[in-house]
């Protein structure tokens, strides 16, 4: 029979030390940086170095591993390290950062009020997307706060889209006010109408 059965355990697993991880993160070898980025998730003392190395990392797969490790840490400090990538000119980097922040939504949540008030409307749009990962009862007041004063129609549209999916009834009057602020934006008024219908059709306290 051509099928062969090999003996087990050809490659023993090794445990990385903090010193090796810190050295590895600065290596010129992509493979070593990948291994260091992955190992850093289990070494809290390496988190600052991991966060510091992330913005400069150019290899996509190493960046992915760094984002996963920071997301696994899940704290606000790790989230803050990833947030800087939301301002990148590289769309793939922004999406990767957004995906990672969604994974660590508990760490991201406390940063969201500031993000939703960021001076950059693109950041506010991406932040609305992050709010989608929150429970409806948490996302609704955050997005309502934004909608009350948001001057950019596209940001409002992003918030309305999330509310349509997860919003609670407290959002209904805020949505109506938003529509009244943008009477010349028919697409937004239509989106608000759809969102309001969906929210109204849900039970008063949906479990999200």
């Amino acid at each position: 029979m051509p099928l062969v059965r090999k003996s087990a355990g050809a490659q023993p697993a090794t445990t990385a030390t903090a010193a090796a991880v810190l050295e590895g993160l600065a290596s010129s070898s992509e493979d070593i940086r990948w291994a260091a980025a992955r190992a850093a998730a289990d070494l809290p003392e390496c988190a600052p170095a991991l966060a510091a190395a992330l913005p400069a990392e150019s290899a996509p797969r190493v960046r992915t591993a760094m984002l996963t490790s920071l997301a696994r840490r899940g704290d606000a400090r790790s989230a803050a390290a990833i947030l800087s990538l939301l301002r990148s000119d590289d769309a793939s980097l922004r999406v990767a950062a957004l995906d990672a922040l969604r994974l660590m939504i508990h760490g991201t949540a406390e940063l969201l009020p500031a993000l939703l008030g960021d001076r950059d409307p693109d950041i506010r749009i991406l932040s609305c997307e992050l709010a989608r990962a929150l429970p409806g009862e948490t996302a609704t007041p955050l997005l309502c706060q934004l909608l009350r004063h948001e001057p950019e129609v596209n940001v409002c549209a992003a918030a309305v889209e999330v509310l349509a999916e997860a919003g609670q009834r407290e959002a209904l009057p805020v949505l109506a006010q938003c529509a009244a602020r943008f009477p010349d934006e028919p697409f937004l008024c239509f989106a608000i109408q759809v969102a309001a219908e969906r929210i109204s059709s849900r039970p008063p306290h949906p479990r999200v």
Partner: protein
């Protein structure tokens, strides 16, 4: 309790699975003679009597059958293996990993499929490994005894060729085939258990990532990435998409299946 299970396996059980969880905890409490949940949880946390392993075993789903999702097996012999061989630069034979393997149906299916459907099977050394987190399932895999339902998609000639009939509508995989497939324990979210298995040409990782949350899926994807040779392929279950889990892999569309590929920095995919 669910958090305990999540941290060790990546499997997520929320409020909607309360009955499922409660029933299995109750079974383990009875099996261990624990008089209260508190005493059972203490036993679990201290891993008395290897309870963590037994507890995890109670939560795994081992319902499968031979030649399940055989379009991927078609793809394996029509496209994947030939491409792996064309890619060259190999120092070992072809390596195929079924993780998870449940009670063995999948790795034995791969073995039977290759023997029956791949003309080049005699020209290459092929290693098939089945791995699972459930140690009871692994024991059953090595034993290779199956009921009628597991064999429902196999023709009579195939059953006659690769199985020995036992009593009570049970069949056992022939000794020669059982000795050709190796089994081992693995926890897909723990690199300490995935790395020792080395790198493979093809990994079948079907219908397990659906039990993980997004964070655990990403960790599992990165572990599987390490376990693939550059240019190697991974096949997921029909309802699973690697593109939604991790950007590490390339999507490859073949006539019979969509599979995912670890990029090869040398660019030698061996595309036809």
């Amino acid at each position: 309790m669910c958090d305990f299970l999540y941290r060790r396996t990546g499997m997520v059980f929320n409020e909607t699975k309360r009955y499922y969880v409660a029933r299995r905890v109750s079974e383990r409490m009875t099996a261990t003679g624990s008089g209260s949940f508190t005493s059972y949880f203490a036993r679990l946390r201290t891993d008395a009597g290897n309870e963590i392993e037994l507890f995890i075993n109670a939560f795994t789903v081992n319902e499968t059958y031979f030649y399940r999702e055989d379009h991927q097996l078609h793809c394996l012999t029509a496209n994947l293996l030939a491409e792996r061989l064309r890619a060259g630069h190999r120092s070992t034979g072809l390596r195929i990993w079924c993780a998870p393997c449940s009670t063995g149906e999948e790795p034995y299916s791969v073995a039977m499929w290759l023997l029956e459907n791949w003309p080049a099977v005699d020209e290459h050394e092929i290693e098939i490994l089945g791995s699972d987190i459930d140690t009871v399932a692994l024991q059953a895999s090595a034993q290779g005894i199956f009921g009628k339902r597991a064999l429902m998609r196999l023709s009579e000639p195939l059953v006659g060729k690769y199985f020995v009939p036992l009593q009570n509508e049970r069949w056992q995989i022939i000794e020669e085939l059982r000795q050709s497939v190796r089994f081992s324990q693995v926890n897909l979210i723990d690199p300490a258990t995935t790395r020792p298995h080395g790198q493979f040409d093809v990994i079948f990782c079907r219908n397990v990532l659906i039990y993980f949350d997004d964070a655990s899926r990403r960790v599992a994807a990165e572990n599987l990435f390490e376990n693939l040779l550059p240019g190697g392929f991974i096949c997921l279950g029909h309802s699973e998409s690697m593109s939604r889990i991790s950007p590490l892999f390339d999507v490859r569309r073949f006539d019979d299946a969509i599979v995912y590929q670890r990029p090869d920095p040398r660019g030698t995919y061996g595309h036809a």
